[in-house]
């Protein structure tokens, strides 16, 4: 984490680029070539963002979206992880689940939104189910691949040293498959994050980040849209870097599986 000169140079250049891009945007916005409602100036976007954060509406939207995404995501892990392990360990399960999964996987989760709306009504159930659908397959497939990729030599070695089924599972299979499982979690979260925004736009409820953006379109509030985009991007980035980054550190690195992650 030491900041090398190379790193400083990069930060400097990045700042310069972003400032230049901001200045360019600002010039276009100020020049009035495009209507101000469609291309709001940066101070206006900033102002809107601060206002929305200040009066708590943005936090409430964030809260609703996070709850939905977490429910669907957790649900997908609860189903995908054990099912993936079972598929890798038991042939019959694999034979049954795999054809279904390969038929359902190419269907984008958002295609189900209208059907789910009809079945479950507008609201949280639809959004959570869509997130579940989106997150389920990356979780399932990565776990399946991961468990199958566990070196059989390790299994036999552990078996020869007298490990019972439980120990084999927790001490060999799970750590061995961890790089894949974490890749699965990452991919699953990325997909859920896309799915939740789309589902919130389509299955309109009153709260949620996707809904704010979509609703702002009706009133030509481009400043609200851009402010929400910033928040959405920020949360996505935070999850990717902080949550999954540290998860990787405490599991994969600790178990010494880094080389396997690299391939």
């Amino acid at each position: 984490m030491t900041a090398s000169p190379e790193r400083w140079r990069m930060i400097g250049r990045a700042t310069a680029t972003l400032l230049a891009a901001a200045a360019f945007y600002e010039t276009v916005a100020q020049s009035g070539i495009f209507p101000g409602v469609l291309v709001p100036t940066l101070p206006k976007v900033g102002h809107t963002l601060v206002n929305l954060l200040g009066d708590g509406t943005m936090l409430r939207h964030v809260f609703y979206t996070l709850v939905r995404v977490m429910c669907g995501f957790a649900f997908a892990i609860m189903v995908g992880l054990p099912l993936g392990i079972l598929m890798a360990r038991i042939r019959a399960v694999e034979n049954f689940v795999m054809p279904l999964a390969s038929a359902l996987m190419p269907i984008p989760s958002l295609a189900w939104v209208p059907v789910f709306i009809l079945w479950f009504g507008l609201g949280d159930t639809v959004t959570i189910l869509i997130v579940f659908y989106a997150a389920m397959f990356p979780m399932l497939l990565n776990t399946w691949t991961g468990v199958r990729a566990v070196n059989p030599l390790w299994l036999r070695a552990a078996g020869a040293m007298g490990a019972d089924e439980g120990a084999l599972f927790w001490k060999v299979i799970i750590p061995g498959a961890s790089p894949f499982i974490i890749t699965g979690l990452r991919q699953a979260f990325q997909r859920s994050w896309i799915a939740v925004v789309g589902a919130e736009m389509l299955a309109a409820s009153d709260w949620g980040l996707g809904w704010v953006i979509f609703d702002a379109k009706e009133f030509l509030n481009a400043d609200v849209m851009m402010a929400s985009l910033t928040v959405i991007g920020g949360i996505g980035y935070a999850f990717e870097r902080l949550v999954f980054g540290s998860l990787e550190r405490v599991t994969v690195l600790r178990w010494g599986m880094v080389r396997a992650t690299k391939g």
Partner: protein
């Protein structure tokens, strides 16, 4: 792949094994639909869906929707491929381009693509232009990242030896950099196409395009035509599977065969 398997199951057994889970699911569906726990309009039996599928296909409605969706997908993806590869190569070759684009791309990438949808609709209006531009914009990110990585991964020693042997810039690019980076570029294109496909259906629902599978499903909801919606989803699954089998697996096989599994 098939050649590597030592013992081969007879063909009919493979087919039967893959068909079995679908038979089970269809049977459960039929029972649920006929028992009448759910209203038939919302939960039509399989034969109704099949009839709707055949009727719409014969009338030419379903092919028209599917054709427009595929056209939009290819249009958006073409944009992404051309722009993405160009930007990625520029970033890999020139320091300045890297400094300019990398911060912008890193900021844009973590925002889920659909979140941009309302902004694009506001700027470019409802309809095709927005849909194609958005699909292109969103799928460009993986293409840019992978192309950039690929160009950077070309071994310095290849470049220098080519230069020492008197290759000019054009030859260097054509014979060293492009082939060296190609496996990564193809991976990027594959990811980009998958991304485009996942997002397109949602975009069609939001952008109110005149024809398109997303719009078909979304429109059918208004009239409670669940059979039409499910028929639309079947077509979506078929296109998705075709993309996977005809495009992705081809690309993968191509890169593996030519470069021995480089990515």
């Amino acid at each position: 792949m098939g050649a590597r398997i030592m013992y081969r199951e007879p063909r009919w057994r493979v087919i039967a094994r893959n068909a079995f889970p679908f038979v089970v699911v269809v049977a459960i569906w039929e029972v649920l639909a006929h028992v009448g726990i759910f209203p038939v309009r919302l939960f039509p039996p399989v034969e109704t869906v099949v009839v709707a599928f055949v009727r719409l296909t014969v009338a030419g409605i379903l092919p028209h929707h599917a054709f427009d969706t595929v056209l939009r997908l290819s249009g958006g993806f073409m944009l992404a491929a051309i722009a993405g590869v160009a930007v990625g190569i520029a970033m890999g070759r020139w320091r300045l381009a890297e400094d300019v684009f990398l911060p912008l791309v890193s900021i844009g990438a973590p925002i889920p693509g659909l979140a941009y949808a309302p902004l694009f609709l506001l700027w470019f209006g409802l309809g095709n232009l927005s849909a194609v531009l958005l699909v292109g914009f969103v799928s460009a990110f993986p293409v840019i990242f992978n192309t950039w990585t690929g160009v950077k991964a070309v071994k310095e020693i290849w470049v220098r030896s080519a230069q020492a042997m008197g290759a000019d810039n054009r030859r260097l690019f054509r014979h060293v950099i492009l082939p060296g980076a190609l496996p990564y570029i193809l991976t990027g294109l594959r990811l980009g196409l998958a991304q485009a496909w996942r997002i397109l259906v949602g975009v069609e629902m939001l952008a109110a395009v005149p024809w398109g599978l997303g719009w078909l499903i979304f429109g059918a909801r208004e009239f409670l035509n669940t059979d039409v919606m499910l028929a639309g989803i079947v077509i979506i699954a078929i296109i998705g599977l075709a993309l996977e089998k005809l495009v992705f697996q081809r690309i993968e096989a191509f890169t593996i065969v030519r470069w021995g599994m480089m990515t």
